[in-house]
């Protein structure tokens, strides 16, 4: 008798955590706070926002992304890259903190999951920094 209730209790224990509620799926899981997420998804560059935005677009193209949407006034760029069955979609926003201080924030999604690995963003920001450096060095 006791083992029967235990079995049913066990069934519930196993089954219940398997479901994520709709709200969790839409709002995103809370395993990382917004601040923690923004810290590895953002970088500060000592250049003006226009230049940074141009270089964001060219960096994304260098990394084989296809630009889907770009808005100059809000400085938002969305791009995607498909390889076989996996598709990576990235949104980059550029905000000016002060005159020559720009914050760049990128967030990427691969297939159905958010990319929460800081290394992915590190690679992108390194490429962006290099592009900005090269532009700063070129003779206009």
């Amino acid at each position: 008798m006791k083992s029967k209730t235990l079995t049913w209790a066990l069934a519930l224990f196993i089954a219940l955590p398997a479901c994520t509620t709709l709200n969790e799926r839409i709002l995103g899981d809370n395993n990382q706070s917004a601040l923690a997420k923004r810290s590895y998804q953002s970088r500060l560059f000592a250049t003006n926002a226009d230049k940074v935005l141009r270089n964001v677009v060219s960096t994304l193209q260098d990394q084989d992304y296809v630009i889907e949407r770009a808005d100059k006034e809000l400085s938002v760029v969305t791009a995607s890259k498909a390889s076989g069955i996996s598709k990576t979609k990235i949104t980059v926003t550029v905000r000016s903190k002060e005159k020559d201080q720009t914050i760049v924030r990128a967030n990427a999604v691969k297939n159905f999951d958010q990319i929460e690995d800081p290394k992915f963003y590190q690679v992108f920001f390194n490429a962006l920094a290099q592009s900005l450096f090269l532009e700063a060095q070129s003779i206009d």
Partner: protein
């Protein structure tokens, strides 16, 4: 009897994840358009339109959405993301579960499981968020701020341009589309079911996040 218990237990484990979640979602709250609008809107004061848009885009990025369209002049943002159910056996990665050795013998019960297999394998939900900011010309006194929250107050006139004011009503709508593809390939006529999400808790949670984001924006973080 014991066999029945254990087989029901197995069935519960395999099917509960998706079905429970879907059943819960189908309890739609009945509400009129006005009530719905009140649910979906909140008032924000003290930021320029660009700052509020920037805070909104940041919150949307925190939630894992990708921005599809954004227009500063109109104050609109559209974003989207997709979801497919987690499954312990790896159906989401396209593996055929009946070919996994330990599960092979269960193919005797394949009729019931065949339906389940195709259901979980090809099920997908797309979420779209559509956010609009609307300017309000006059600031209302602090005492009356609470009752005017989310409602259209006649004493507030809309200004013509977003840049004229620092008082806005933000309204967001979440739309959910559930898709069942017959095959793994996109089809011309997938079985799709779309609806606006009407859960007040969802919108409350979203605006909590937006308030935090607005605070961070004001601090220029």
């Amino acid at each position: 009897m014991r066999f029945l218990t254990y087989s029901l237990l197995l069935l519960a484990v395999l099917t509960t994840g998706t079905h429970y979640a879907l059943a819960a979602e189908q309890d739609a709250t009945e509400s009129t358009a006005l009530q719905q609008r009140a649910l979906e809107s909140r008032r924000f004061d003290g930021l320029t339109s660009k700052e509020l848009m920037s805070a909104s885009i940041n919150v949307i990025q925190d939630m894992g959405f990708n921005v599809d369209e954004a227009d500063a002049g109109l104050g609109t943002i559209t974003a989207s993301k997709s979801w497919a159910p987690d499954d312990p056996i790896g159906l989401r990665d396209g593996k055929d579960w009946l070919s996994i050795p330990s599960v092979g013998p269960l193919s005797l019960l394949s009729a019931a499981f065949e339906t389940h297999r195709s259901y979980v394998k090809n099920f997908k939900q797309d979420y779209r968020a559509s956010l609009v900011i609307k300017p309000i010309a006059s600031a209302i006194p602090a005492g009356k701020a609470k009752q005017a929250k989310g409602k259209k107050n006649d004493s507030n006139k809309e200004s013509d341009r977003l840049s004229d004011t620092k008082n806005f009503v933000v309204r967001i709508i979440f739309e959910k589309t559930s898709k069942l593809d017959a095959n793994q390939q996109p089809t011309d006529t997938p079985l799709a079911y779309s609806e606006t999400v009407k859960d007040p808790v969802l919108y409350q949670d979203f605006y909590d996040k937006l308030s935090k984001s607005v605070f961070l924006e004001a601090q220029k973080i």
